[in-house]
């Protein structure tokens, strides 16, 4: 089981900010592919992989980052702070 968190328009599109899922995916990229198949909202949220940023246990991650042993994976758009 792994905690998923969504922020900004990713959160709005998937329809929740937080959920716990079971996954066989081994990387961030594989997890995205899995989520895309869930429903239209997820498919829309993850339709442009270049527009998605991810963090594994609160560290910025890329598509190849492994998620084995991670407690939490977060997905969000490019950051716009400052």
């Amino acid at each position: 089981m792994i905690e998923l968190r969504y922020f900004a328009w990713v959160r709005e599109r998937v329809g929740t900010g937080h959920e716990t899922v079971h996954t066989d995916a081994e990387t961030v990229g594989a997890l995205i592919e899995e989520l895309k198949g869930r429903d239209e909202g997820y498919a829309f949220a993850f339709s442009d992989p270049g527009a998605i940023r991810a963090a594994v246990d609160q560290e910025l991650a890329g598509p190849d980052t492994p998620i084995a042993g991670a407690k939490e994976v977060a997905f969000f758009p490019p950051m716009t702070g400052g």
Partner: protein, 152 residues
């Protein structure tokens, strides 16, 4: 130790600058940057809302500040960033740096801003008379990062 503050409440930039400068002992140069809510696109901005990732935000800002401290042998650094809803003219965030000489203080403040813009988990939503829209990341902000990439 750099000071990191993440809060919803408004803050007084002048009071923060004074407090930061007062705790310096060897720094001859103090630089500050403040970001203010503006209707950049002149599209009738009524408010801005900032979402963030509690926990990761503080970690990311501490990491960025620590990196700046060592890169420029800073005496001190300060980052304050707000989240939640704020109106036109309100101060969104502030960074301050203290160093022996002005060159390091300026460079470190710019570095903090460049990293914070694209590497700290904040997302801005703008509210206008026509509705709400997430602010898109600017190409320039990503490019601004590249100038610091030698050695890190």
């Amino acid at each position: 130790m750099p000071e990191i503050v993440v809060q919803a409440e408004p803050f007084d930039m002048g009071e923060r600058l004074n407090r930061f400068a007062a705790r310096q002992e060897n720094a001859g140069a103090v630089v500050s940057f403040s970001g203010i809510v503006r209707d950049a696109a002149a599209g009738g901005l009524t408010a801005m809302e900032i979402e963030h990732f509690p926990g990761m935000t503080e970690k990311a800002l501490s990491g960025i500040a620590g990196e700046a401290m060592t890169r420029w042998s800073l005496m001190d650094a300060f980052i304050l960033h707000r989240y939640g809803r704020m109106g036109q003219g309100e101060t969104i965030m502030m960074v301050a740096t203290a160093a022996r000489h002005r060159g390091e203080a300026f460079a470190a403040a710019e570095f903090l801003m460049d990293y914070l813009k694209s590497r700290a988990p904040f997302w801005k939503k703008e509210f206008t008379f026509e509705g709400a829209a997430w602010v898109e990341a600017r190409e320039e902000d990503e490019e601004a990062l590249s100038r610091w990439s030698s050695g890190g």
